[in-house]
């Protein structure tokens, strides 16, 4: 099996198939992250495609091809964050009261929603991009703060604060749901 560095070298010289092998090697690892960040599988697939295309175009700037996976993770995280920010702007134009929408969605389910993936995902979707990202990296992808710092460029203190705030907000949201 070719190493990441070998495949990166081939892809950099224009071998798209080599890049597709890298994609196959890493995309499952980043699929869940993208879905949790973006909120839907279809949109996550588009976002991941865009991220991988950006990665292909930027291969020349991958300084350490043996750590291609970590480099790719940065691009995926950036793409997801950008998407979430844009999505939030769009939704703010359409829905002024997200809490009303959220409560309505939960109420309409007619079942005890505690702990269901759909509801936790929905609550997660109410967090802003950086808090959502921090929570997903820490508690879903189970990264260390050092790994998170490398990917996001933020320092560990800031990341801990983001995670703490994300937890607090998630807790508030889910408590509200259970009170509905």
């Amino acid at each position: 099996m070719s190493s990441d560095a070998e495949l990166v070298a081939r892809a950099t010289s224009g071998d798209v198939v080599a890049f597709s092998v890298l994609s196959r090697r890493y995309r499952d690892k980043y699929t869940r992250f993208a879905v949790r960040m973006v909120g839907s599988r279809d949109e996550a697939e588009d976002v991941l495609q865009s991220a991988f295309i950006r990665a292909y175009r930027a291969l020349g700037s991958c300084r350490d091809p043996s750590r291609f996976g970590a480099w790719l993770y940065q691009i995926v995280a950036n793409e997801c964050r950008t998407y979430v920010v844009r999505q939030a702007r769009r939704e703010r134009r359409l829905v002024r009261d997200e809490h009303v929408l959220y409560s309505a969605a939960i109420s309409s389910s007619g079942v005890d929603s505690r702990d269901t993936l759909e509801d936790v995902q929905y609550a997660l979707g109410q967090l802003d991009a950086v808090h959502r990202e921090a929570f997903v990296m820490k508690y879903v992808e189970e990264l260390s703060y050092e790994e998170m710092a490398e990917i996001t460029g933020a320092n560990t203190s800031a990341l801990k604060m983001r995670v703490k705030r994300a937890c607090a907000r998630l807790r508030e949201l889910l408590e509200e749901v259970h009170d509905v």
Binding site: V17, F52, I53, Y56, D115, L117, C167, E175
Partner: protein
């Protein structure tokens, strides 16, 4: 006090994490779509096109001697159809054998494949535009069906593009149904807005 309120922060976060750790996968065509999108992306990364200047001895400024009756000309114009639309992969809008059409496929968020269709009794058709440097032979259309329907699929980035058809290697034909633009040399081309 609710159960959530009784939980510690770490316990609560771990529980949410467990729920969210459910696996997610995409379809088997992910890499196939990716390779296709990258190839399309590379095509649009060619050097910025320029319209030929009057001093450039290019084919399309050569006066074309084409004898065509008004009726045939009208029929040809009416049969020339080009359109563009956004859509998801493989969504056919109409049957172009009858009406002319374009299927646009979204390759990724900034690249779309636009199908240009020319219908007419001609020997050859090429597509020229700002996306291929106005090169007459850059994008030949391929005849299909009865031989009167000519088609080419072109990956285009989001934005405004100018284009025209070159019929039989020398005649410049703009889309009669699209927005048109006439340049300083009185040459008419058409405008397509991709992604708007």
């Amino acid at each position: 006090m609710s159960e959530i309120e009784r939980e510690g922060d770490e316990e609560f976060a771990e529980r949410m994490g467990r729920v969210l750790r459910a696996s997610e996968t995409f379809g088997d065509t992910f890499e196939e779509d990716l390779v296709r999108a990258i190839r399309a992306d590379r095509q649009i990364d060619q050097p910025p096109p320029r319209r030929p200047t009057p001093l450039t001895p290019v084919w399309w400024r050569t006066p074309a001697i084409v004898r065509i009756s008004p009726a045939v000309g009208l029929a040809l114009a009416a049969s020339l159809v080009v359109a563009a639309s956004l859509g998801t992969l493989g969504v056919a809008l109409k049957s172009y054998q009858r009406t002319g059409m374009v299927v646009a496929e979204r390759v990724h968020d900034t690249v779309h494949v636009v199908r240009f269709v020319f219908v007419g009794k001609v020997n050859s058709v090429s597509l020229v535009g700002d996306f291929n440097g106005w090169g007459a032979m850059a994008m030949p259309l391929v005849a299909s069906g009865s031989g009167e329907t000519w088609v080419v699929n072109v990956p285009l980035p989001r934005g405004r593009h100018e284009y025209a058809f070159v019929v039989d290697g020398k005649r410049w034909v703009a889309d009669p149904f699209g927005m048109s633009n006439t340049d300083d040399f009185n040459t008419e081309s058409s405008i397509i807005a991709v992604g708007s």
